[in-house]
């Protein structure tokens, strides 16, 4: 594994990504007038400094280790875990399931997305029988309808594709 200052490069990524995001935020902030940007710019500059300290504290240098002892003694090192392919696959799968459900809600609306998601999740992830998956999907859709549409009198989102249906 490639290392920089004694630490795997991958361990710098969270702080590095945040640093870049903050830099972009700061550049955007300078596009606004002085009154609007004063607080965002103040916070963004402070963030850049803090993230720099975070990056340094991740190195195995003497200064980095001293910084960790002072400011981050309880911060766990996630060495190795990030490279476990099984773990990475599970994480991606979990995030994709969530993203898939959110997209389904956007496209086909609440009343169709909920049973489809519960059915698919139980069938594909949980490997339950079709009967259990169907019952759970229908039960969940009924619960959502009763709770939100009936009890709270809310108009459930129909979805972009089915808006006119």
């Amino acid at each position: 594994m490639r290392r920089a200052f004694g630490t795997p490069i991958v361990d710098y990524l969270p702080a590095l990504v945040l640093w870049l995001l903050t830099a972009a935020y700061l550049i955007t902030a300078y596009g606004y007038d002085a009154e609007s940007r004063v607080m965002p710019a103040l916070v963004a500059w402070a963030m850049l400094l803090l993230l720099l300290l975070d990056l340094i504290s991740r190195t195995q240098t003497r200064f980095g280790q001293a910084l960790t002892r002072w400011l981050n003694p309880g911060a766990a090192q996630v060495k190795g875990a990030s490279t476990d392919p099984n773990m990475t696959r599970k994480q991606f799968a979990a995030v994709l399931w969530l993203a898939g459900f959110a997209t389904a809600l956007l496209l086909i609306g609440v009343l169709y997305a909920v049973p489809v998601y519960v059915f698919a999740s139980l069938r594909l992830r949980g490997r339950r029988s079709y009967l259990v998956c169907l019952t759970a999907g229908a039960g969940m859709a009924l619960l959502v309808w009763l709770l939100f549409a009936m009890l709270l009198q809310l108009n459930l989102y129909p979805g972009l594709l089915l808006q006119g249906v």
């Binding site: 969270p14 965002p40 916070v43 400011l71 911060a75 969530l98 993203a99 519960v118």
Partner: protein, 505 residues
């Protein structure tokens, strides 16, 4: 004062309020019993459902949840060595050995009664302190509110269990998010990148649902399996003896309750510190410290009394200053805002009935939860055996649909999903989430107060040291930020004499 206390009780003693209190209590027990969920997740999920309710009914429901969660958490901590909520981890140390010895009923009985007594002592302390808090907050103007917001963030960051730097980073990140949208001061719309939904800023409630409920579910999906692996360990006997055990150790209950009350009033410190501090003080005060960790009943009573006492006093900074004492209080703050109740000095003056009603709801819930918890120990323990593959999709469904239901904006679903992933990444890379929540809550106040302060003093910064309250707050911020260095210095000074002694011995 008695009149306001009584009006709080009167408001609570309505059929509708009592029903929602009982519902909240039942939900709190279940969510408390499921490790990883806890009060913040329960409140985050319930938040959109409270939208259609009267504010006081929503408070009764929330009070029911908050009062019952610790009891639910202690049941699984004792029975399965799986603390339902983080503070219950201290209960595991002696509770689980007791369960292994076949004394689970004794331990649960003791936990239930310690919970109730701790809750009552916590309530008494809140009732005593709230009137003084009202006088205190009237001393606060824009400079003080700005510094208080910063202090709140710094306090939460410095108490992020040895992760001050990361706590400050996530606090700053939360502030950056809080500045998105329409700016009241300048009239500009900032950082929306053309997305119209973001004009009102990132809505707090969907973000909280994502950060807590969804992130925990992603974590559970990644880990897989069930929360508890073996139902065979569940043995329930001698519960009433356990209840009596608490009354045989009044000093332990009182110590735990005082620790919980004091720690709870400090924003960001939370129940974990309260329960472990109470436990360690009890071990130190015991004549038989070696028996702890092997099934000493005082090891169950001490943390449980502290956890519930903490809940009452955590309301003080939340209601008086808008600074949440912990994650649960941060979500509760969202519920208050959702119902048009703006925490702060005005709330203490204008919404006294609601506040005292909430305090009573919290107390009633923790007593009721203890009683119901004793009756429902076995079925509650079975909840922990639900497979994550069933639990996760159900919770995610309720979370995402619930966030849409807040105001019928589909953008809320996207925010919840994004914050869910963000929350998981923060868990994964060990960045504290609480500071993000505090920043989202306090960001607007901080910016508004900052601009008001600058206008008051024609752009001069000296106002922060000219007024004694703000000077005090500034000093507190500096001390807190310098605390790690101070701690290191004290540690070195202490270590020096020991090192000097070593060659002689």
């Amino acid at each position: 004062m008695l009149h306001v206390w009584l009006s709080g009780i009167e408001s609570l003693l309505q059929l509708r309020e009592l029903m929602f209190l009982a519902l909240g209590m039942a939900i709190g027990l279940v969510f408390g019993a499921i490790p990883g969920l806890g009060g913040s997740t329960a409140l985050a999920l319930l938040m959109p459902l409270t939208y259609g309710l009267e504010p006081f009914t929503a408070l009764a429901l929330s009070g029911g949840v908050m009062g019952a969660v610790p009891m639910g958490g202690s049941i699984t901590a004792i029975l399965l060595n799986a603390p339902g909520t983080a503070p219950n981890a201290a209960t595991c140390i002696d509770g689980y050995p007791l369960a292994q010895q076949g004394k689970a009923g004794l331990a649960i009985g003791a936990a239930a009664s310690a919970n109730s007594l701790g809750g009552i002592i916590g309530t008494i302390s809140v009732l005593a302190v709230l009137p003084i808090a009202k006088e205190l907050v009237l001393l606060f103007g824009p400079p003080e509110f700005f510094l208080l917001a910063i202090l709140g963030l710094v306090v939460v960051a410095t108490t992020s269990r040895g992760k001050m730097l990361r706590g400050l980073i996530t606090g700053g990140f939360g502030l950056m998010i809080a500045f998105i949208g329409y700016n009241n001061v300048s009239g500009d719309v900032r950082f929306t990148y053309g997305v119209e939904y973001l004009w009102d800023g990132v809505r707090l409630v969907p973000a909280l649902i994502g950060l807590f409920a969804v992130a925990e579910m992603i974590n559970l999906m990644v880990k897989g399996g069930t929360v508890a692996r073996d139902a065979g360990t569940v043995k329930i006997t001698r519960m009433m003896s356990g209840v009596m055990e608490t009354f045989r150790h009044p000093a332990t209950v009182l110590r735990g309750s005082i620790v919980g009350t004091v720690v709870g009033a400090i924003p960001g410190v939370g129940g974990v510190v309260a329960s472990f501090l109470s436990y360690s003080l009890t071990v130190q005060a015991s004549k038989d410290p070696d028996s702890f960790g092997k099934g000493n009943i005082e090891g169950v009573i001490a943390p449980e009394a502290a956890i519930n006492a903490k809940d009452g006093s955590a309301l003080i900074p939340t209601l008086a200053f808008g600074i949440p004492g912990g994650a649960e209080m941060a979500v509760f703050l969202g519920i208050l805002v959702l119902h048009g109740l703006q925490p702060g000095p005005l709330m203490l003056i204008q919404n006294q009935t609601e506040i005292y009603g909430l305090v009573w709801a919290l107390t009633a819930s923790c007593i009721l939860a203890s009683c119901v918890g004793l009756l429902l120990v076995r079925p509650l323990a079975m909840v922990t055996l639900v497979d994550s593959e069933i639990l996760a999709p159900v919770v995610i469904c309720i979370a995402l649909v619930g966030s849409f239901a807040i105001d019928g904006q589909i953008g809320n679903v996207v925010i919840t999903a994004v914050f869910g992933i963000l929350g998981y990444l923060m868990l994964r890379f060990d960045y504290p989430r609480l500071t993000v929540v505090v920043a989202l809550v306090l960001g607007g106040t901080a910016e508004r107060s900052f601009h008001q302060t600058m206008m008051m003093n024609n752009g001069g910064w000296s106002i922060f040291v000219d007024r004694w309250v703000s000077a005090l707050l500034l000093a507190a911020i500096v001390i807190l930020l310098g605390s790690p260095a101070l701690r290191m210095l004290v540690h070195r000074l202490r270590a020096r004499p020991i090192a000097a002694e070593k060659p002689q011995t």
